[in-house]
Amino acid sequence: MTELLDSTSSSESSTMTESSAPAISAGDGPLKMTTRNVDVFYGDKQAINDVSIDVTMDNVTAFIGPSGCGKSTFLRCLNRMNDTIPIAKVTGDITLEGEDIYAPKMDVVQLRARVGMVFQKPNPFPKSIYDNIAYGPRIHGLASTKEDLDNIVETSLQRAGLWGEVQDRLQDSGTALSGGQQQRLCIARAIAVDPEVILMDEPCSALDPIATAKIEELIHELRGKYAIVIVTHNMQQAARVSQRTAFFHLGTLVEYGVTSDIFTNPTEEKTRDYITGRYG
């Protein structure tokens, strides 16, 4: 916790250098997740090198960077989805509300209920729309009666902006929806277990521009209710939806700060080169 306090009090600049604590300005809301000196190894290969980032409640945090820079890998550390890869090894400290999520007493099932995730390709289960949303509440025992469950399904779909489109066909298969609708269904599914953080791994990369715009609008609406972290390779999208941006390159965090600063006045040359399209 001392480290955490240090980081909030001492930093004035909105950028950081590697391995020091990231900056949090006033008005960002409470700190939700912190990461310190995180390394990720796939076997012998180091995929993430010494990354420290803070995720706050009221901001949308975007991870940008060229393909293979480790931004998705890092995102998957935040809900321990890297556990599913046998050769992956994560070191460093990652906390959620001050609790170490890699501590032995941390229950990964509980963690993932608190830190939800939306994937690159929409992945609704081959079940009805209703059952897709009800899946999480059912496995976590969130609803005791049918009415409770109905309410959760309706609220989640409303929050994801999908209720109006599907309320008459909740028993249709989730896979029968369009790509954009499927992705919003997946967001609704994540919302249904009432998470604190939502991780989005390139949520629009498989969608057309109109569906993308809808998802971005939705991210705006969800901001403040959930801490949101989004990985994107679309820099305009990062500029549109996020307040904080982290630029990754070859597994290291090059720069992390206020989105507008990163895009208009980056401190690091690498960031400037990437943003101006010189590589990536």
């Binding site: 809900n79 989805m81 599913t84 046998p86 990964v108 099932v109 509980q110 963690l111 993932r112 209920a113 939800g116 995730m117 994937f119 390709k121 992945n123 609704p124 289960f125 081959p126 079940k127 899946y135 999480g136 496995i139 976590h140 997946c186 599914r189 994540a190 277990v193």
Partner: protein, 460 residues
């Protein structure tokens, strides 16, 4: 000249033609330097000439092989020795056949002295026609080679022609398998039709009394009711075997795909697949000598009446074990085909591994698993060796797994073993049973393949 030497000679001629065709064609590129003026590469010209040399000659030999025996017989009959032959067609035929086999070296001595006198004319005729055929074939090979060699021109579309011939050869290969299936089906139908002209199909398909040995009487006599056989087949192959194979196969597939460490899987999967390679006769004596007596003793000790040492259970359980790798590998494939995004989605919701398997993976893989099970059933009901050795012969209609039942395949073996007359309904019944089995397994396979295909489309 024997057939194999002739064949070799024609192939050699083909090789020579290939060489000369190539040589001629490779000159084209010297005289025709403009791009595209020579249509095909020299190699194609070589093959073009070679095929012209070999193809017609071999085709001629095939036709000649069928046509020459009649010509030889005619020539032999025209000889002076033939005048002493009896007028009776049957006696004449047998003498001629004997003479022929002596002449061609298949038989050493004749029973009938008349045959001996016919040997010489036969020998002359055979050598005459063989030489004639060989000369004609070689001439044809020469003619084909020379004709096509003369036709070689820079603009000859040799490549297109060779491509077409290649395609036709491949088509022929694929047709052979299909035509064989059709042929088998046709022969089954033909023999079954003869059976059904003696026994009514209704009696056969819906009769409940199977006792074919009793049949020697007039048309319409019972004893060919196949229901007990169908029941026994279903009981052993589709019920008992599947009760063993489905849970074990499915669970082993789940373990191997979801839980096993890669190194364990790398060992375990081949071992499981070796089970599929064990000859069924080995399973058969395992069932008959080990499992069946143990099960009978067990049944007797807990007081089940009618326990037989040829129990349905023994055959069914062993057959189930035989089918496990089959079910397991089909289930393995369909679980592996479920996109990992689906599994990750569920895990990211905070579902445990077993919840993910139960609620997402299995339902998503179900069509593929069902398809695999249907294929397994179709294999189990067609399986012969295990049931012949371990299941009984008594056509009982019973649901007691410790008693003896019989199956379609067991009865087919039973009906066709030993000396049989091929016009008695008892023998022909085997074909009718085979037809039913063929149709049922065909339908099962069709449905299963369709289900699996539909499932594959959903995820690709």
């Amino acid at each position: 000249m024997t057939g194999s030497i002739l064949f070799l000679l024609i192939i050699v001629l083909g090789g020579i033609s290939w060489f000369f065709g190539r040589v001629k064609a490779s000159r084209f590129s010297i005289t025709h330097t403009k791009r595209g003026a020579v249509h095909s590469l020299p190699n194609y010209h070589g093959w073009y000439v070679a095929l012209w040399a070999v193809g017609p000659a071999l085709l001629f030999l095939v036709v000649w092989n069928f046509a020459s025996p009649a010509l030889i017989t005619d020539a032999a009959l025209a000889s002076p020795a033939a005048e002493q032959l009896p007028q009776d067609a049957f006696a004449k035929g047998s003498i001629l056949a004997e003479a022929r086999s002596i002449a061609s070296g298949q038989q050493v001595r004749a029973f009938n002295p008349l045959s001996q006198s016919m040997v010489e004319p036969y020998k002359t005729a055979i050598s005459y026609y063989q030489t004639l055929g060989a000369i004609a074939a070689i001439l044809l090979a020469f003619a084909g080679g020379v004709y096509s060699w003369l036709r070689l021109k820079p603009e000859l579309r040799a490549r297109t022609k060779i491509e077409r011939i290649t395609m036709m050869a491949l088509l022929l290969a694929s047709l052979i398998a299909t035509i064989t299936t059709v042929g088998i089906f046709a022969s089954l139908i033909f023999e079954s039709a003869r059976f059904f002209s003696m026994v009514s199909p209704i009696d056969f398909l819906f009769g409940t009394e199977w006792n074919p040995k009793a049949v020697a009487g007039p048309r319409g006599e019972t004893g060919f009711g196949a229901i007990p056989l169908f029941w026994g087949t279903v009981f052993i192959g589709a019920i008992i075997a599947m009760i063993v194979a489905i849970p074990l196969g499915l669970m082993s597939a789940i373990y191997l795909t979801q839980y096993a460490a890669p190194r364990f899987r790398a060992w375990m999967k081949p071992i499981l697949e070796v089970l599929a390679g064990v000859p069924t006769v080995v399973y058969g004596y395992f069932a008959a000598l080990t499992v069946a007596p143990a099960l009978r003793d067990f049944a007797v000790s807990i007081g089940i009446s009618g326990a037989s040492s040829e129990s349905a259970l023994a055959a069914g359980v062993v057959m189930g074990i035989m089918i496990i790798p089959f079910v397991s590998s089909m289930a393995d494939d369909s679980i592996a085909a479920v996109p990992s995004a689906m599994r990750d989605g569920s895990l990211a919701m905070g579902a445990t591994k077993s919840e993910t398997i139960k609620k997402v993976l299995i339902p998503a893989a179900l069509p593929g698993v069902v398809g695999g099970v249907l294929l397994a059933v179709s294999r189990a009901i067609g399986e012969t060796m295990i049931v012949v050795m371990a299941a009984g012969l008594a056509a009982n209609m019973t649901a007691n797994p410790f008693s003896s039942v019989t199956t379609v395949t067991t009865q087919i073996v039973q009906l066709l073993t030993g000396d049989q007359e091929f016009d008695s309904p008892k023998t022909l019944a085997a074909f009718a049973l085979g037809l039913v089995l063929f149709i049922v397994t065909l339908l099962l396979n069709l449905i299963a393949l369709r289900v699996v295909k539909k499932y594959r489309e959903a995820y690709e």
